[in-house]
């Protein structure tokens, strides 16, 4: 398992995953257009060998003339192979894409569509990722199904780097590595400590 920014070499794997999983498909050129316009916005998950794409999020900046000139992102497509579901991949991919849209392109919010019948996706967007349902788009899909048009405000994203600077110190890690018997409570459980615990339990 590996989750990282998508590169050109990932496109055919993303296209393959998309064709395996979803009814809305795109030709290579369209992925290439995403990659050369917003290279930071898309992410992939691979299998343990690191070569096969098992999940992806394809995202972009909305190009239509913005109302109020507010730039916003759009998630074109997201899917995870069935055999890799329930590991939280979709959520992790989305979080990375949203951060990129916000940081690189100044997207104030991000929008997406989800099939009304797709309860798993609705759960992910609404409950896990805190998207709001903005409206119902009638007959949005080729087969006539309605879509929920959803949105999430991005300006509330945490500044992860600042938080990290403020709260994390490396000492415990360095100690963990240098001095294998470190017993700093809460952060590192060493051999001896864990053995002691099970014995007393």
């Amino acid at each position: 398992m590996d989750i990282r920014q998508a590169t050109i070499a990932d496109i055919t794997g993303m296209q393959n995953a998309n064709l395996m999983n979803l009814p809305e498909n795109y030709v290579f050129r369209y992925y290439l257009y995403h990659a050369t316009t917003w290279p930071q916005a898309s992410f992939v998950a691979t299998d343990a060998s690191g070569t096969k794409i098992v999940g992806y999020v394809l995202a972009k900046l909305e190009e239509e003339e913005q109302k109020d000139g507010v730039p916003h992102g759009h998630v074109t497509s997201l899917s995870v192979m069935r055999t890799y579901r329930r590991m939280g991949l979709a959520g992790k991919l989305m979080e990375l894409a949203l951060r990129s849209l916000y940081e690189c392109y100044g997207a104030k919010f991000v929008s997406l569509h989800v099939r009304k019948s797709n309860r798993a996706a609705l759960h992910l967007y609404r409950d896990t990722l805190k998207f709001d349902v903005k409206e119902i788009s009638k007959a949005y899909y080729g087969d006539g199904e309605d879509a929920y048009a959803m949105q999430k405000d991005l300006e509330t994203l945490d500044d992860l780097d600042a938080l990290f600077e403020a709260t994390s110190d490396d000492d415990f890690l360095i100690e963990a590595v240098q001095n294998l018997n470190l017993t700093e409570s809460g952060k590192l459980v060493t051999e001896t400590e864990s053995e002691a615990k099970t014995e007393t339990a």
């Binding site: 290579f28 050369t36 490396d170 415990f172 890690l173 590192l188």
Partner: protein, 683 residues
Amino acid sequence: MSARQVPKQRYLAPKEAASFRQVLKLYETHQYKKALKVADTILKKYPEHGETLAMKGLIMTFTDQRAEGHELIKLGLRNDISSFICWHVYGLFNRTEKNYEEAAKCYQHALKYDPENGNILRDLALLQVQMRNLDGFISSRKQILSQRPEIRQNWTALAIGYALVKDYALAESILQKYEDAMIEAAKPDDIEHSELLLFKNWIIHQSGDVKRALEDLEKIADVVLDKLCVLEYRALYLLELGRSEEAARAYRKLINRNPDCKAYFEGLEKALKVTDDVPKRKALYAALAKQYKRSNVAKWNPLVFLTGQEFKEAVSEYLSGFLARGVPSAFVNLKPLYTDDSKVQAIEEFALKYLSTLTGVASNGSSSTSNGAKDTAEATPTTYLWTVFYLAQHYSKIGKQDVAMEYVEKAIAHTPTLVEAYMVKAKILKRSGDLQAAADTMNQAREIDLQDRFVNSKAGKYYMRANKNDEAVSTISLFTKNDGAGKGVGDLHEMQCIWFVTEQGEMFARQDKIGMALKRFHSVKKIVDDWWTDQFDFHQYATRQGTARTYIDLIRWEDSLYSQPFYTRAAEDAIKTYLSLHDTPKSARVAAELAGLSEEERKRVMKKLKRDRAKENKKLEAEKLSEKDDDPLGKNLENTTKPLEDAMVFYKPIKDLEAWKWLGEEIEKRKNAPVEAKTEATA
């Protein structure tokens, strides 16, 4: 132009000259009908006028009169061979024909007669980079830059050219010169500027001067919008410079952003110098897994470097976590470890032991187990299900299909609606060699969840493995656009679905439907060829966007396009099929079928053969890939008189790859001994 003498054949009276300028303008604004009308008024007075003829021809190629247009273009050029317009037009025509080499020649002729023409130079540069004539590309871009130095893209394009030939010093100096001369400061949200700053930084790093790359990075860090890239570059540079503590910190920051990216963990390991020290490495991961509870990588990586008892403990914890939470993907995660027998053994022991502590759960549905195994503390009734499900995949992987089947049946008995269990059962059947039962079972899985395309795709694939084309096509067509010709198959072609096209081709080959098989293999090649030509529009586009690093990635990736398995697999299939056509021509195959039969039997067999074929053909005829598909059965391909030459078409793109040399040798062998091959076939 005015300074030059207009040659007699090009002269137009002022009125017509104005009309000609109008034609050019109308062409540029795609008003083809009007443009043709105006061109005709010129031709009334000057019927031989080369440039007008050429323009008229060019416009006709855009209005569905390709052949006639082509003729006119050639005629125009013949009438005015020293006109840059005529050559440019011919170049444009060749470009739309994807005949890039000819197009480039035309542009070069055009430039002979108008050396300063920026449009033609730009078009020539596009062709040069498409054909990887990088020296030519650089020289064209140099000229363009000297003409229009005020345009940033012209600097970017030349820098890209130098970067492509790895002349990083020149690439950097070109970008630097533009920055130095930049009159306006970049706007804070200028992503193009941000990308180009990173491009220059990347160039400095590529040149090998890591120290300077880091200095430059710190200078631009505040302006660059791509924060993640700055963090990644910084971590890498620090590591390469041996500034370990800072590098470790930088990688920690990255892991904090994305605790599932393997590269970050590798970087941190290197920075902390623990890569070759198992106890330290283990301690590091223990600490990270504790801090990043959602990270799969932090838990998974130790499974690779730990051995013996330590591996046992680690894998027990990893696996029980998956099983207790009911995550179906435990096996696909552990699969890479199955190359190590001792690890396989340890996993099996654990899973069996774990199961034995759960049997109580299975029978009475209660989750209280107190067999002393601490791992089962959070076990739920479904834990039993996921454990037998795991064991089924485990035994199937190690080749014990019978045992695997027992376990998967237990899973199905426990939860008869579990799609995953049927999918695994189908795989076990496939590995046992019962392709028909495998397909039926995969279809059962599909029927439980009709909404899911993944299991639909799998069912389609399994049907094809069982040589069931009808079932496969009707299944996959449930998720395709079926309004065009060819139904689902046509849509999957249009959507460039290589896995399907290849599988179907291989199925046809197994069934001896040679024409259909070849047709599919050609389709795969066509898809890959399209991926090659797709880059054309991005030479200019990416330069304009400033996404130079992505563009260079694209160029290098395209250079390796045909060495990728999606092409080589179909190429091997196609070449083997052509070789068999060469070795056993159709007549010989029919003869072999009839050998040893009496006259009467022969007639009967022939009749039946014919009837079957006709029936089959009628069905397949319905599989036209598009309205224009005039050979849905691939008869033209099958009836080739030069199978070895056809095989070469597939071999050419991979001829320099060591792994595929043997295919070339097979073709050569037959080419060099044509007589022998024939006598063998008839013998």
